[in-house]
């Protein structure tokens, strides 16, 4: 079974090579890798339900329930973004980088070694750097420079943290970065060194996860990248970085107690919600609007992680999936909007529902999911996070967070209403409404349908979620 772990990595290398050699098929590379990642994730999830943990490469790669779940998220969001963003033709270079990007994220969640996890997360920065700077305009160059410098420096802080975690194990005689060893032998860790290491590692990965106050690169990079790449970065890369925080928290909490990281994450979560709410209120650009909404949702995840416990952690994982699918669908639609309207300004897009129902309907459905309206799963995961945080003793933090969420909700509703409602044409004769979806509609429909029903399903999916949360110490 161990060979299954190599599948996503091997496919990504193969797809990158093939798309460089045979440019004709380059446009399909991302879809192929996503399908394999999703399939592997489902297979590993099934194995995890049987309480089998698959490992390979002498224990460097290992898939427990959490890794399997994250792989499903990467595959599902990847499929939405790459299939929805399918072009008639794609340059080989970007297609190869996209495959490498998906492969690096898969490696990050499959690695049972904090060092390899770090190398993979840094690899995602490398793979996406040229994708962000693809348009070669002043703005995209600026976004790419900030992205690479801030991303690398942030992740370098995380590296320092991981080095110190490694140093914390040296007293045990067998220094290790293996996640399993660190969790199963907490007594071997030197608490004083681990404290410094865990704090730095969480700080560093929080930069990559776009948590305030280290978020300044995010709106620039996510608004300048081509739409499918933005969808992947916003929808799943942030979650992969957040996954690293969750793993480190699971190592640190048994030794240090939950206080230190709870404080850090609660502050980062509240700051992220505040920044997102403030900037959503006066946002004029719909791609940046989506980027700030990602900061808002990462803030919610941080709040859930700060709370800990089975309810909040299960909700955090469900929220990653729901947010990823909704956000990547919206970014795909935003790419189509930009292509037909030639503008990313909210003010230039009026009466979309009357003029272009083919784009307005998925946009409205995606926004409804993002706002957390039932039956979409984000409603249930947000309730889970809020209740979890409240019962964990974070009442004040939760109350402030609810207020900020309300502001962000109102701002997002106002911007969406500006874009979609109203008369189609100003004064002139009403043109025939454009019902075309300007691209494949099936991936968007599938993604949003999954978000709508996933929280209502229990059965194997619910068991997998609970097991994944139990891996993080939220045993029920």
């Amino acid at each position: 079974m161990g060979v299954v772990l190599w599948l996503p990595l091997g496919t990504s290398v193969l797809a990158a090579t093939v798309s460089l050699r045979v440019p004709r098929v380059a446009r399909l590379a991302g879809i192929a890798v996503s399908v394999v990642v999703l399939g592997t994730g489902l297979a590993l999830g099934a194995a995890a339900l049987d309480h089998r943990v698959v490992s390979a490469a002498g224990g460097l790669l290992r898939a427990d329930a959490l890794s399997a779940f994250m792989l499903v998220v990467i595959g599902a969001v990847g499929l939405t973004a790459t299939w929805g963003g399918l072009q008639a033709r794609s340059a080989p270079g970007p297609a190869a980088l996209l495959s490498a990007f998906l492969g690096a994220m898969s490696l990050a969640v499959l690695a049972d070694n904090l060092g390899v996890l770090w190398v993979a997360v840094e690899g995602t920065t490398i793979a996406t750097a040229f994708l962000v700077g693809q348009h070669r305009t002043r703005a995209s160059l600026e976004a790419a420079w900030k992205y690479v410098v801030l991303g690398s420096v942030g992740v370098a802080i995380a590296f320092l943290g991981i080095v110190l975690v490694y140093a914390a194990t040296r007293a045990s005689g067998t220094p290790t970065l293996s996640w399993v060893d660190l969790v199963t032998h907490p007594a071997l860790l030197d608490p004083a060194v681990l404290k410094l290491g865990a704090a730095l590692a969480v700080l560093g990965f929080a930069t990559k996860a776009g948590l305030a106050p280290m978020h300044s690169w995010l709106p620039d990079a996510h608004s300048q990248a081509p739409a499918p790449v933005s969808g992947l970065m916003s929808g799943v890369l942030l979650s992969v970085a957040f996954y690293a925080i969750l793993r480190i928290q699971a190592v640190a909490n048994p030794v240090l107690g939950p206080g230190l990281l709870r404080g850090m994450l609660a502050v980062a979560g509240l700051l992220s919600l505040a920044v997102a709410a403030a900037l959503l209120l006066r946002q004029r650009d719909y791609k940046r609007m989506l980027a700030y909404s990602s900061i808002e949702h990462m803030g919610l995840l941080a709040l859930g992680a700060a709370a800990g416990g089975p309810l909040a952690l299960t909700a955090v994982l469900l929220h990653m999936l729901g947010h990823g699918l909704a956000k990547s669908s919206l970014f795909v639609v935003s790419g189509r909007l930009l292509a037909v309207e030639q503008s990313t300004a909210v003010a230039d897009i009026r009466g979309l529902l009357a003029r272009r129902p083919g784009l307005a309907v998925p946009w409205l459905a995606g926004t409804a999911a993002l706002l957390g309206l039932p039956p979409f799963s984000l409603f249930f995961s947000e309730v889970g996070i809020v209740v979890g945080a409240w019962t964990a003793g974070l009442q004040v933090v939760t109350a402030v967070a609810l207020g900020l969420l309300l502001v962000a909700f109102a701002a997002l509703v106002r911007l969406t209403a500006t874009m979609t409602l109203g008369a189609g044409s100003r004064g002139g004769p009403a043109a025939e409404p454009d019902r075309s979806a300007h691209g494949p509609w099936l991936p968007l429909a599938l993604a949003l349908a999954v978000v709508a029903v996933i929280a209502l399903l229990s059965g194997p999916f619910g068991t997998l979620l609970r097991q994944a949360a139990a891996v993080l110490g939220g045993a029920s």
């Binding site: 460097l60 070694n113 060092g115 390899v116 770090w118 190398v119 840094e122 690899g123 920065t125 490398i126 750097a129 040229f130 700077g133 070669r136 002043r138 703005a139 160059l141 600026e142 976004a143 790419a144 420079w145 900030k146 690479v148 410098v149 690398s152 420096v153 370098a156 590296f159 320092l160 080095v163 110190l164 490694y166 140093a167 040296r170 220094p175 970065l177 004083a192 060194v193 404290k195 410094l196 709106p219 620039d220 608004s223 300048q224 900037l279 006066r282 946002q283 940046r288």
Partner: protein
Amino acid sequence: MAANVYAQLVGLAAGVLLLTGVLLVWRRSLAASVRLLSVQGAALGALVAVIGVQHREAGLLAVAGLVVLLKAAVLPVLVGRSVPADAGREESPRLNPTAALIAAAVLTVVAYLVSRPIVGSSPDPAVRAVPVALALTLLGFLLLVGRRHALAQLVGFLVLDNGIAAVAFMTAGGLPLVVELGASLDVLLVVLILQVFSARMRVKFGALDLDELTELRD
């Protein structure tokens, strides 16, 4: 190796690391920065070799060779290649040299305070030198925020990376080889990418002054 020779050699290498770090903060010329970076890389390699000989680990000696090759030769050459012959002599940093040196002194003191739990009561001279490595990391940050020139920021990033690598070697004799190799490859690729971007910036903006990056804001 006799214990006091080992302690002296570790102290010497750590001293060179800190000295080059402070000189990098002080000097404005990019060409000089690149030479200092190369010396710093060599000192880091020497440190790894000394630790390797003391602990009789052949693997660490190979890693030392890799460190010298990458950090004393390849990376400085890569950065130096794009330093223009005429321009960049006198870039104007955000901090003047006096303020920068005072900041460097403060950061070094901070590094000593922060690293007390790591040093603990360890008798190993390498572990006792960890504050120097942390100071180097902080100096890298100072260079990153204190400079306007794109290549000077790149130098700052490499100093930061040298500092973190020094912490790894001093505390635990380096990380597992897989991680070490992966991390080196990542740093090399990041430097290459930033080089390509700085070349594009020179074409688009006509300069490498990062204060020109003002297009994207809310």
